[in-house]
């Protein structure tokens, strides 16, 4: 099953490489990985999406917790949560395509953030399926370049991941 694990990590050099190293060393999957500092500059927030059996996920969380620089973590998929991913995509846009793309972007609540005579650059946020759906809708033949941020997530309601 797909899981979203959210980690508070000491914002120190080398900490990220330990997390990434752990995944390859123990043969765990990484589907997406995002990391950035938080409002507390001593901490980074890292979100990793991974797949595995319950047993593997339990090992992943335990092994992550063992890393000295991991301060706290939560498996967001265990409760209600919000997940978002940002995508920037460059699309071939000439002639009648331009209107068609514009319509599709509107349907997906995206924005065209840059324009040339032959190219639209579209910005889209949402969960990963929505981003996949957009690519499918415009058709891969018109896609020139895709940049995805990887998943960020946060629990719904009162629950917070903090010190």
């Amino acid at each position: 099953m797909r899981r979203i694990i959210s980690v508070l990590l000491e914002n120190e050099p080398g900490a990220l490489s330990r997390v990434v190293g752990l995944f390859s060393q123990r043969n765990y999957n990484i589907e997406t990985l995002t990391v950035a500092p938080t409002e507390d500059e001593t901490l980074s927030r890292l979100t990793v999406t991974t797949t595995g059996s319950d047993k593997v996920i339990e090992q992943i969380t335990k092994q992550l917790n063992k890393l000295i620089e991991v301060v706290k973590l939560v498996d967001l998929t265990e409760g209600a949560h919000i997940e978002r991913e940002l995508m920037l995509v460059k699309l071939k846009a000439t002639g009648s395509q331009r209107a068609e793309i514009k319509r599709t972007v509107d349907i997906f609540r995206g924005q065209i953030v840059d324009v040339t005579s032959s190219v639209y650059t579209v910005q889209l946020a949402g969960n990963s399926e929505k981003l996949d759906g957009f690519i499918q809708a415009v058709g891969t033949s018109g896609v020139l370049e895709v940049v995805r941020s990887g998943v960020s997530g946060i629990a719904r309601g009162e629950k917070v991941l903090s010190l």
């Binding site: 000491e10 080398g14 490489s17 330990r18 190293g21 060393q25 047993k55 339990e58 090992q59 335990k62 092994q63 917790n65 063992k66 000295i68 620089e69 991991v70 301060v71 706290k72 010190l163």
Partner: protein, 572 residues
């Protein structure tokens, strides 16, 4: 206010940490530190002949004393030479701190002379690693390194020290922190009371219980508590090869060790048990055999300081995360207070069954009228040293024979590389033990293959007068490899034969030691006695043993715990 250079701060921190010995080898990036060492006499440095040996020495010291070992090496090749030793310590959870020189911080990333990314290279085989970025941080980093190495589930910690962090004429205020606090590292200090209660209830209700103890009992200094609990319950106990000595081997309740080359009765009792109380062990593949066939009728209580060791390979019914000594102590109290008592009839029937298994096989081997059997060498050593020696071993058949036939009644006396299986471990580990236990007998039981992996340390033994006894079970082959080839490759002995052995006696003598060769069976005991009587000499005892012997019992690959070869022809 005291002002010290980074190098002086480092050595001062070691002093304040109470470090008596460090094992190491100098080089460019570590020279400021070596100079600081030279100008004091509290911390003693032991100069090895290869950095790998320094790590094994620190490791042997740590295993014998329960205290963290310390290593000091230079950058680049000095640092990379420590990796096998660090990985060895990591796999067996041995506390140690490895201090590595590094090129100056201004040169890092430029492929400078003797630059290696030691933080990156060591990362998968350390509990943690730290690099020094400001000289004034050194005392805190050293304090942290030992704290992390020695607490929780212990392990090796590497500290990377760029040369410009130790520059002699740049001085900083020296403050040795009294305490370390790490918000992200809080090892458990006691087990969950509810879980412990549940475990005790299960122990009382069990009809075919067995205690399965591991190296965690020794690392957690919990042998006394374990022995008390097991005695009180009257249940059978087995332990892993890492747990040897955690419970007295001569006691009747002890079934010997378990797993691939464990005793018949241990493996049978595990397989047929209805309750396994695992204490500080980790169900590794050399114990469980095929996990899907593992002990089908057993419920499992698992006590470990490391939550990640629990339900990793075998699911626990009752996990208990905590230090084994504290958890066992609570269990003892609960057992004493318990209104429920074990079902005496069921336990008696269980023991009757176990005694039948014991009688059916037990530990045995066939003797020969003229060839020396490796097992009888170990038995003779056990008799001659009254079971009191520290015994280190290398890796191979001799290791298994040593573990099977030397009966340890005390913890910290059997010292081997169980997790990584590092040939070359035995001699330096023995040196680390001898240095701090000069009045104890220290034996290194080895093979002619393994001993050559760190043979250069005979020179270190001369320099520091370390009269260990090297017992070379010379079967003129990489015996364990050959055994597997006999069993799985129709005896095609690919590269498992060593056709050009040195004259070990002359070799020992060349290094300034004594050598004894034993070839005849009738010479075995008297000549061993003579060798052991040379208290002040390192004696290399080269014993020609049966070249065709195999280690048994041996679990059948991919079988259950109870599927074993008991000899070349008997399979159960």
């Amino acid at each position: 206010m005291e002002l010290l250079s980074g190098a002086d701060m480092l050595i001062r921190s070691l002093q304040d940490e109470g470090i008596e010995y460090i094992y190491g080898y100098p080089g460019g990036a570590a020279l400021h530190i070596y100079d600081a060492l030279f100008r004091q006499d509290k911390v003693k440095h032991i100069l090895v002949r290869h950095e790998q040996a320094a790590v094994h020495m620190a490791d042997g010291y740590a295993r014998a004393t329960g205290l963290p070992g310390t290593v000091l090496v230079t950058s680049g090749p000095g640092a990379t030479n420590t990796i096998t030793g660090i990985a060895t310590a990591f796999m067996d959870s041995i506390p140690m701190v490895v201090l590595c020189g590094q090129v100056a911080s201004t040169l890092i990333g430029e492929d400078a002379f003797q630059e290696t990314d030691m933080i990156g290279v060591s990362r998968p085989v350390v509990k943690h690693n730290l690099s020094v970025r400001h000289p004034e941080d050194i005392p805190e980093i050293i304090r942290k390194a030992y704290y992390i190495a020695a607490t929780g589930r212990p392990g090796p910690v590497v500290v990377d020290i760029p040369k410009d962090m130790t520059t002699p004429n740049e001085r900083y205020e020296y403050v040795f922190p009294k305490k370390v606090k790490l918000r992200s590292y809080n090892p458990a200090i006691r087990g969950h009371a509810g879980q412990i209660k549940k475990a005790v209830d299960m122990l009382m209700a069990a009809r075919r219980p067995i205690i399965y103890a591991g190296g965690g009992v020794i690392l957690g200094k919990a042998s006394d508590q374990l022995t008390e609990l097991v005695k009180m319950l009257g249940y059978p106990i087995t332990n892993t090869i890492m747990g040897i000595g955690c419970y007295p081997a001569s006691d009747k309740q002890h079934l010997g060790w378990l797993g691939m080359h464990g005793t018949y009765e241990s493996n049978m009792a595990m397989h047929h048990s209805d309750l396994i109380l695992c204490v500080g062990a980790r169900f590794d593949d050399r114990v469980t055999n095929a996990t899907e066939k593992f002990c089908p009728g057993a419920r499992i209580v698992h006590i470990d300081i490391d939550p990640a060791s629990i339900s990793k390979t075998i699911d626990a019914d009752v996990p208990i995360v905590g230090p084994v000594d504290a958890v066992l102590k609570e269990m003892i109290t609960l057992v004493k207070e318990s209104k429920e008592k074990p079902d005496a009839e069921a336990i008696a029937a269980w023991w009757k069954q176990i005694e039948e298994w014991r009688a059916f096989h037990g530990m045995r081997y066939e003797t020969s009228p003229d060839v020396i059997k490796p097992q009888e060498v170990v038995e003779a050593l056990w008799r001659l040293t009254k079971g009191e020696a520290f015994v280190t071993s290398d890796v191979g058949q001799h290791q298994m024979f040593a573990a099977q036939y030397y009966k340890f009644d005390r913890p910290n006396r059997w010292i081997n590389s169980g997790g990584l299986g590092t040939m070359g471990f035995g001699l330096p580990a023995a040196m680390g033990v001898k240095l701090t236990h000069p009045d104890d007998e220290v034996l290194c039981i080895t093979g002619e293959g393994s001993i050559q992996m760190n043979i250069q340390e005979l020179s270190t033994c001369k320099q520091y007068n370390l009269p260990v006894k090297i017992i070379n079970l010379n079967n003129q082959a990489l015996g364990m490899v050959k055994q597997w080839q006999d069993m799985n490759y129709e005896s095609r002995h690919a590269e498992s034969y060593m056709g050009s052995l040195p004259d070990f006696i002359k070799l020992a003598e060349a290094y300034g030691h004594k050598g004894v060769r034993i070839e005849k069976k009738e010479d075995l005991e008297p000549m061993l006695k003579e060798a052991l009587a040379m208290k002040d000499d390192l004696v290399f005892v080269d014993i020609y043993v049966d070249r065709f012997e195999h280690v048994y019992p041996m679990q059948v690959a991919r079988g259950s715990m109870k599927d074993m070869w008991l000899s070349k022809t008997e399979r159960v």
